[in-house]
Amino acid sequence: MKNFSIAKRQVDQISVLDISGELDAHTASQLENSLKALIESKNIKIIVNCAKLDYIASAGLGVFMAYIEDVRGLGGDIKLSNMNDRVYNVFDLLGFPTLYDIVDDERDAVKAF
């Protein structure tokens, strides 16, 4: 198994996913399952903390794309925080910052809800 893991925390009404390792074609489905589970249990205020995310491939970004509308449609949002520069660069290259709230610090994301 590739080096990737997800841990879930609750900060008041907000669900925080701490993702770490490499998010690529093989591990994308793990993130998908976590997001699906949150949406099904009506936890629609979601922060994905990327502090320990070392690498992200397009398939990983695709998971975010696939669920953002659903979450927003329910009145929630997915916000991303604490990315390192390399990971942010990939998000930026593909134009994610126009769509997603990407903030430096998780606390800013919490406040933004």
Binding site: A25, S29, V63, A66, E69, V90, G95
Partner: protein, 573 residues
């Protein structure tokens, strides 16, 4: 006191030089054209005490100027557009002032006493620095004009630089994006290589598409052996009907759906672009994508990427199909090998020896399993049973029937039944249990324990040949009845007795021997060649004769075997 005009001039020019130097340093280091322009305007206005000034930036291709900066009252406002165009001669002029340019000032809409400094590099007109008349209404001196001109040149270079820098940054970013695209392809080709699960491949393909193109709406339809279906989907309200799918597969390889009118599925789901994917020139995949979240369209680069990624997914899926096929084939092969072993076990081994006779037998299947059968059985009364048979068709169906025949024969052999009756029973069972196009040609006979009599029944089999000592033409053992399995036994089978004599040579064979073909497929081996071959090798022992026949057939057919070859050679010593 340094009041003389000369020292005043000196002081002034030193000041101007210093201003130029500082400004140029400031401007050259700045990557921000806005900052450069603002500085240029403020410095010149302050230096010359001009209350009105603005900077016009040329918009090539638009026959207009953008009012980039504007200071002072009732001149054009910043950000507005000025529709005006000047001839090349004016654009080559560095400083524009005086009466002869009054039309120019009118065109811009500023006072006739104004002055324009051309902002240009050696080959590029960037715009104008426009300055209104001095507060004192005094015209600018030659020195002042020269100073502003220098400043304008430095500023122009700085702007050109920052523009170039901006463009480079843009190019760099596009390159970064390209590198990322390529990396994605490379990485996915590696990832796909390790995947055998089609659902997983389709899912990864979907996410890569969504992430890479920043889209929500996506589908991937595949045609597997003529069956079209959606294998991956995102953001689509209703899956397409079979009719929709046929339409999608019938479209151009690259279809922008603005032009497609008659497909509700595309319109309802906001699909912008369809990409057809081909494998060996046949369209077997269609990818549809919705609008990009960045609001950018699909250019050549994007279409290229979609095609590449799509082809990659398609090939990977093809690979899994081939792999599955191979696994099935492999399993079939293993089963066939097992069947072959079982079938070989149905033939007698070792072949029982009959006192006073030499016996040799062979069965060569053209495939792994076949429909030929022979047997040699020692009976309770010390007699021997010989049998040879050929089931129509080849392969597994024939081998099943052969096994069936073998078991019947072994069940009947110990019983007190005549050959004729037993043949009739076997025929009835075969007739009842097999489709009407399956038959068996069958010959069997019993050699009495003293080895003197051979009683036989021939059910439509190639008549075995008996070569008598000193006779070249064989006797044919033909008595019996019709082939097994064609009709129920209404007429009983008959049998005949042959008296075995010293020196007799009996040759039993299937039609694989006599119907072996020459390489041109024009001629069969036929009985006469068999007879010639036996006669030529009569003096050899049973094994030697058998091997000679096989060699002769192989020679005739150039080792290409189409049918099973089975023989029993019996030589009475």
């Amino acid at each position: 006191m340094n009041n003389s005009p000369q020292s005043n001039d000196e002081r002034r020019s030193r000041f101007e030089l210093r201003t130029l130097l500082e400004t140029s340093r400031l401007l050259i280091e700045s990557q921000d054209p806005d900052f450069v322009l603002n500085n240029l305007l403020l410095i010149t206005m302050g230096k010359l005490l001009v209350p009105k000034g603005m900077i016009l930036i040329h918009k090539p291709g638009d026959a207009s100027y953008l009012v980039s900066k504007s200071k002072g009252r009732d001149w054009l406002t910043e950000g507005s557009d000025l529709k005006v165009e000047f001839d090349q001669k004016l654009l080559d002029t560095s400083v524009i002032h005086g009466k002869k340019y009054s039309t120019v000032f009118d065109a811009i809409g500023i006072e006739k006493e104004s002055i324009l400094f051309n902002l240009k590099t050696s080959n590029h007109h960037l715009g104008f620095l426009c300055l209104g008349p001095k507060g004192t209404k005094q015209p600018l001196t030659g020195g002042e004009i020269e100073f502003i001109e220098s400043l304008s040149i430095i500023s122009s270079v700085a702007i050109a630089n920052s523009r170039m820098f901006k463009e480079l940054r843009h190019i760099n970013r596009r390159l970064d994006r390209k590198v990322h695209d390529l990396n994605t392809l490379l990485e996915l080709s590696k990832d796909f290589n390790m995947m055998v699960d089609r659902d997983e491949i389709a899912r990864v393909f979907k996410f890569a598409m969504l992430g890479q193109m920043l889209i929500r709406t996506f589908f991937f339809a595949l045609d597997i052996d003529g069956k079209r279906s959606i294998i991956s989907i995102s953001g689509i309200k209703d899956a397409p009907t079979d009719e929709d799918l046929d339409k999608l597969f019938g479209m151009e390889d690259i279809a922008r759906t603005d032009d497609v009118k008659d497909c509700a599925f595309l319109a309802d789901n906001n699909i912008d672009l369809l990409i057809g994917l081909r494998f060996q020139n046949e369209k077997i995949g269609v990818v549809g994508v919705g609008p990009r979240a960045t609001m950018e369209g699909y250019g050549d680069a994007e279409i290229n990427f979609l095609q590449s990624l799509g082809n990659l997914a398609l090939l990977t899926i093809q690979k899994t199909l081939l792999l599955e096929e191979q696994i099935v084939k492999k399993r079939m092969e293993e089963e066939l090998n097992l069947a072959k072993t079982i079938q070989e076990g149905l033939l007698p081994s070792p072949i029982p020896q009959i006192p006073g006779m030499e016996i040799a037998a062979v069965n060569v299947s053209s495939r792994q399993v076949g429909g030929d059968y022979f047997d040699v059985l020692k009976l309770e009364d010390n007699g021997h049973l010989l049998a040879i048979a050929d089931v129509t068709g080849k392969g597994i169906p024939a081998s099943l029937l052969m096994a069936n025949l073998q078991s019947m024969l072994h069940a009947l052999a110990p019983l007190e039944v005549t050959l004729e009756d037993a043949t009739g029973r076997i025929n009835d069972i075969i007739y009842e249990n097999t489709p009407s196009d399956k038959f068996i040609t069958f010959f069997w006979g019993k050699i009495t324990d003293d080895g003197k009599t051979f009683k036989y029944t021939n059910a439509g089999h190639n008549p075995p040949m008996v070569f008598k000592k000193d006779q070249k033409e064989p006797i044919l053992l033909e008595d019996g009845g019709v082939i097994l399995g064609a009709v129920p036994t209404m007429l009983p089978y008959s049998s005949a007795e042959y008296k075995i004599e010293e020196g007799d040579l009996l040759v039993f064979f299937t039609d694989g021997v006599t119907e072996a073909m020459n390489p041109e497929q024009t001629e069969e081996y036929e009985e006469h060649r068999l007879i010639d071959c036996v006669n030529a090798n009569r003096d050899k022992d049973a094994n030697g004769i058998m091997n000679a026949i096989i060699r002769d057939i192989n020679h005739f057919s150039n080792n290409i075997q189409y049918d099973d070859i089975t023989m029993i050679i019996l030589k009475v010593s």
